[in-house]
Amino acid sequence: MAIKKEDAIVSIEEFEPQVWSCVNCYCGLCIEECPVFTETKREAVTGRGMALIAHALLTGELDASDIDEDLAYSCTGCGWCEYTCALNTPVFIQQTGTRRTRVSGATLAEMFRMMKAEQGKVPKAVSDALGSLLKSGNPYRKPKKGKDRWVAGLNLGDSETDTILYVGATIPFEDRATEMAEAIVDVLKAAGIQFNILGSAEMDSGAFAMMMGEDGLFEEMTERTEKLIVEKNVKTIICVSPHDYDAFKAYYPAFEGLEIKHYTQVFDELLATGKLKLSKSVDKKIVYHDPCYLGRKNDIYEEPRNMLKRVPGVELVEMEKNREHTYCCGGGGTGLIHEIENIRMNQTRVEHAKEQDADCIAVACPICIQMLDDGVKSKNYKMEVKDIAQLLKEAL
């Protein structure tokens, strides 16, 4: 359910009922598979821990200066705590719950980040990324004109279509994410789908700004994006990134009449209806890594698997932690641009793939591809990390 962007910004005072709900319940289910807890064994950074800290902030026992950097910036917003939370089980929450009503460690972490921002105590990597998002629509401090040049090079032609491929803030500014997007473009072309890409006019959907806890930037980005999409008279948005897909679904009530899809949904449909045909064999043993924002946040688990099963030669195996139990790649929150000591989720996740003796980790997210590829390189494993679109392209 989408809420207004101004309602998406929540203060701790407004979040008090959820804080109390967690403190009252105290079930601790959020701790078991919290990836930050798995890495650090520090309960303060889990959903329950952050709720207890928020409670102390509300009673005045703590103030913003007590929130240290690790506490504010460790959570990657993977959604495990929201998914498993006992107090998120009532029918009302399941059917209509939003950021304002769900108990969530990520929401609390984002509030802590806002506090750090208000104090002017944001880590340099995060503050550089935020500045770059505002100026250029990407977190990498790259000039936004590069996006126009990249789009021009794709030779999409002059299409009258009202469908866009929304590539998001990482593309074409990061090589691996860009290769992924180019594969999506090629597969869409092969299926005869007409679409446009908005180029440098496309900034951040608000997904990055929200995760980094910069509410002013979030408002700015969502306002710009909404205006742009409305002005362009877009009817269908195909998202490359699950983070943008989630943002459009969660924070853009104005888009409720639009068709918003993640590219895996589009490709799955194209394959199922025979509009996209795969002929070449891709002989690989593949594990699929469920991106948190596609799976736990939006219940898209089967479409990516359906696609991989249709690729000739692919042996699809599951990691022990899959679907609802997926383990975050570490790139959510501020993880993509700011490393926290003792947290190496990407390396842990690569180990999960190694346990299955996989040749390749398939992903469906431009952040996951970067994090897991870094993880493989750090471990010095002979394992590929590829987006599903890249595997489909190989099989065309």
Binding site: W20, C25, R42, A86
Partner: protein, 500 residues
Amino acid sequence: MDATKECIQEIKKAIGEENVSDDKPSRIVHRVCHGIESLLHENLDIFTPAAVVRPKTTEDVVKIVNCASKYEVGLVPQGGRTCTYGAECVNGAIAINAVRMDKIISIDEVAYNITAQAGVRLTDYINFLNERGFDTVELPTMIKSSLMGSRAAISGYNKWETRWGGSKDNIKSMEVVLANGDVVRVGHGSGGPSKSVVGLDTMGMFIGSRGSLGIITEMTTRFIPKVPAYHYGIRAFTNLEDGLNAYLELRNPLHASAVWRTKAYHKWMLKQAVTTSSDFVWPEDVEMLVDYHILGDPEVVDAMTRRSEEICEKLNGFWRDDLPPTEFVGQMHNTMEKFMGMGALQSERLVSGGMGNRIVPLDANIPNSHLIDFYKEYLDFLKDTEAGTTWPNLAKHYHVLSPGEPLPTEQGGTKFWALMLADSKNFDKQSIEEFKGWFREYAELIWKHEGSLTATHGFIPKDMEVEFTKRELGETGYNLLKTIKKALDPKNIMNPGLRF
């Protein structure tokens, strides 16, 4: 630098700075547990530890204990902190969080014994057994939060308790670090050191001691082979007596080898519970449900299933289409963790996403011979509580979720498993005072029926603990506890918040 700070510095040197958190947020996170003691205090700082330490090995624990002993600083061991009593910390003490002691050490598949560190999470322990074709008998509700050491520390309850008993029956041996830093292995039976035919059952002292005598670092527990056959049965009853008599007969000791669990559910709870997860409307004439789990070899399960059906039929048990799906109740234990979400009941959270309530578990241990009379009196007591005649302010913030779900404890006894809901934010001074009066009357009702306040959840408000413990154990029994505590922990550093 004061003694506590010096102690923490020394512990940092001994086990590594990264395994000690003394920042205020971390200390606040570890101060209370699921228990309701914290509901009875407006200032929670009385529970805030001076530091949280995360040892990895028994050697780490010894170093921590030696430092604490040297500086006479209290130590409070903590597991998942979903227990209802005893894991609250003490201001200025050090909380020992066992989460890094998470190794399964060995398994003996012939003797059906498994040895694990105290910080192994129950889900990991159970998965480890399941992957090898075995089943656990250590099966509490909060398996995703509970740690193994806590099973001994709180003398845990288990799902299959009718057949296999509680944690005290399943633990074969334990390693304990004593207050003087000595490491001792205690045990009985085939799981480790045996007390032989003479001597004291020293392991028994530590089970249920809630960290007040030593720090449990390792334990050996029994497990069982995969059970080949299972039957779940459930019947409805239109009156309380029929339902409770069916429960009592199903748990007749003769049936215990096959009926591993039976439980009764009152409509006061069921009506509320269904509203969290469905639009189901409870049929008013149905007063009680009773369910039973039969496990064992297929022929045993078949025979016991027939016998159980006869028992229920004789007591007017039935099943109808207007009752909720059987799995709704049948899976209650498995999904009990989600039942913590029943704190949403009677609150805004169900309808607007507002704040949920706090579940207040109160379960007495009632002799079976008193069960029906006690239940009737208790229902009247709860109706009076809700009406607010005696405790008007409490009634505004304190409501009945479940008047009691009888469930076998030891042979001849029933744990009552009653749940209340508290509007904790508005639970003010007056509510707290009235709650203590209410609790005193609740206790008198239990004692009148020769019961004990402590079954699974074992809660007594701290400032009544000494008085009520004496009432249950007698002056001499209480003094024996004090003598044991003093002998093992003369400096009172082990969970000093517990009253001896």
